[in-house]
């Protein structure tokens, strides 16, 4: 499983990188960026799913 951020939806709410700093970071405007671009490890997957469930903009998506 991987995680992606839809850059058109992301508004920099900042929930993903505070919940899962090992999976997400931020750019100079404060938008979320995915740090783990390949397959997610087990702990990372759980954190990515939590970030997905907390993004107010529905910009984070965990997918196959």
């Amino acid at each position: 499983m991987r995680v992606v951020i839809d850059a058109d939806l992301c508004q920099g709410q900042g929930r993903c990188f505070s919940i899962a700093p090992s999976v997400f970071g931020f750019d100079e405007l404060g938008s979320g960026v995915v740090l783990v671009t390949g397959e997610l490890g087990e702990g990372e997957l759980e954190l990515a799913r939590l970030a997905e469930a907390n993004c107010p903009e529905h910009a984070v998506e965990v997918r196959e």
């Binding site: 508004q11 920099g12 709410q13 900042g14 929930r15 990188f17 505070s18 931020f26 750019d27 100079e28 405007l29 404060g30 939590l50 469930a53 907390n54 993004c55 107010p56 903009e57 529905h58």
Partner: protein
């Protein structure tokens, strides 16, 4: 500006967010509206709508085709009277629409990104400690007026690089600014004169002696290779004061009010400091302090009602946060709520530019208060007062700490 207002008897057809019932406890009103309307209407303010659901608030917040942000504080006037020459507008980016909005927003985002804000933590912590030292000694601490209120302006003053010796002057200025937002334009302009004088002097000092602070950042910022006009720099500073101060004060105050009345939540935070970041999000959901406004751009059917050009929309992010359709047990405060897509900082292109700073201040203010006073309670519930208007939070909050 105090006007006699008729009390509201039915919030579905005649709502007023300044009505004493709404100010005292808006949550049951919103729940009732969600079940009955869900878009409430009023003829007050020249005509306004209030969507009480998460879905309604979301749809309007993301719809810049049909709604404009030209005025985000609901009042008896209309934008023609209030509009300043474009493209600067009254307070970009909050009062800007696309496409200019994005230009004005991108300009300030780097100054409020986590990369710029995270390093401020030690100085925010030191400030909270100093304020707590100052109020220490008695059995009762005025946690809103003497603590929460003083944190945001001091942080902003430091960020702007204004002299520490001016702290009290600056806090006075901030109050003039935040209290003037719903004054008529001519009174507001008069109230702003001494403020403008002070700010322009600071701006000129920074032009002569650039340094590493927000004022210098704004002076160096460029749109299309052009430095900003001094009015734009001044306007942005005013926006930061209006948007960043009463809001954060309110969030800190409401959270302390909650902890003063819920000893089990206080105990959990004392015992599990790692819970704080998650708890912060629940404080923000449950006690979201900020309601915004929009203006309808043209006559239309929308959310099942007939909106007219220049009708107001009161955009209740706090109401959206209590909608059971969007949150399990929406009316319960759950300190470790795992899934929490709250919208306290808005949604879409106007997402609060200061949210990283607001979270830092809220977290550190609570951490320091709790570290100093691991047990506290309301001194006298009858002495707690709440703000009236679009920013909601306690203004007097005596807390018994001894």
């Amino acid at each position: 500006m105090t006007m006699e207002k008729t009390p509201v008897t039915d919030f579905a057809t005649d709502f007023d967010h300044t009505d004493p019932a709404w100010v005292a406890d808006p949550y049951p009103i919103w729940e009732d509206l969600r079940q009955r309307c869900p878009v409430a209407h009023t003829e007050r303010y020249g005509g306004a709508w209030f969507p009480a659901t998460h879905a309604g608030v979301t749809q309007i917040a993301k719809d810049t085709e049909n709604f404009t942000s030209r005025t985000v504080i609901m009042n008896d006037g209309r934008p023609d009277e209030l509009a300043l020459p474009s493209p600067i507008g009254v307070a970009p980016p909050i009062t800007s629409d696309p496409p200019f909005h994005q230009i004005a927003r991108k300009l300030i985002l780097p100054a409020f990104s986590p990369g710029a804000i995270n390093p401020l933590e030690p100085q925010v912590r030191a400030l909270c400690g100093t304020l707590l030292d100052r109020v220490a000694g008695g059995d009762v601490v005025e946690a809103s007026w003497e603590y929460a209120r003083l944190i945001p302006p001091s942080v902003i003053r430091q960020m702007l690089g204004f002299p520490e010796a001016d702290t009290d002057v600056f806090i006075d200025i901030v109050h003039t600014v935040t209290e003037s937002v719903d004054l008529p334009m001519d009174e507001r302009i008069a109230a702003f004169e001494p403020i403008e004088e002070y700010f322009v002097a600071q701006i000129e000092d920074h032009q002569a002696n650039p340094r590493d602070d927000l004022t210098t950042f704004l002076l160096n910022a460029e749109i299309d290779g052009q430095k900003l006009a001094v009015e734009h720099v001044f306007g942005t500073m005013i926006l930061i004061l209006v948007a960043g101060i009463d809001t954060t004060w309110s969030a800190i105050g409401s959270s302390l009010w909650h902890l003063a009345r819920n000893p089990s939540d206080l105990e959990r935070l004392v015992n599990e400091p790692g819970l704080m970041p998650i708890a912060i999000e629940e404080f923000l959901r449950f006690y979201a302090p900020v309601t915004m406004a929009r203006l309808v751009k043209h006559d239309m059917e929308y959310l099942g009602v007939a909106m007219k050009e220049y009708d107001w929309i009161l955009l209740g992010f706090p109401a959206a946060n209590r909608d059971p359709a969007a949150f399990a047990d929406a009316d319960r405060f759950i300190i470790d709520r795992a899934e929490n897509r709250h919208v306290a900082f808005g949604l879409g292109i106007h997402r609060c530019a200061g949210s990283n700073l607001a979270r830092l201040e809220l977290r550190v203010a609570l951490e320091e208060f709790i570290a100093r006073y691991p047990r506290f309670a309301l001194a006298d519930p009858d002495q707690v007062t709440w703000s009236q208007g679009q920013i909601r939070g306690p203004r007097r909050l005596p807390i018994r700490v001894g």
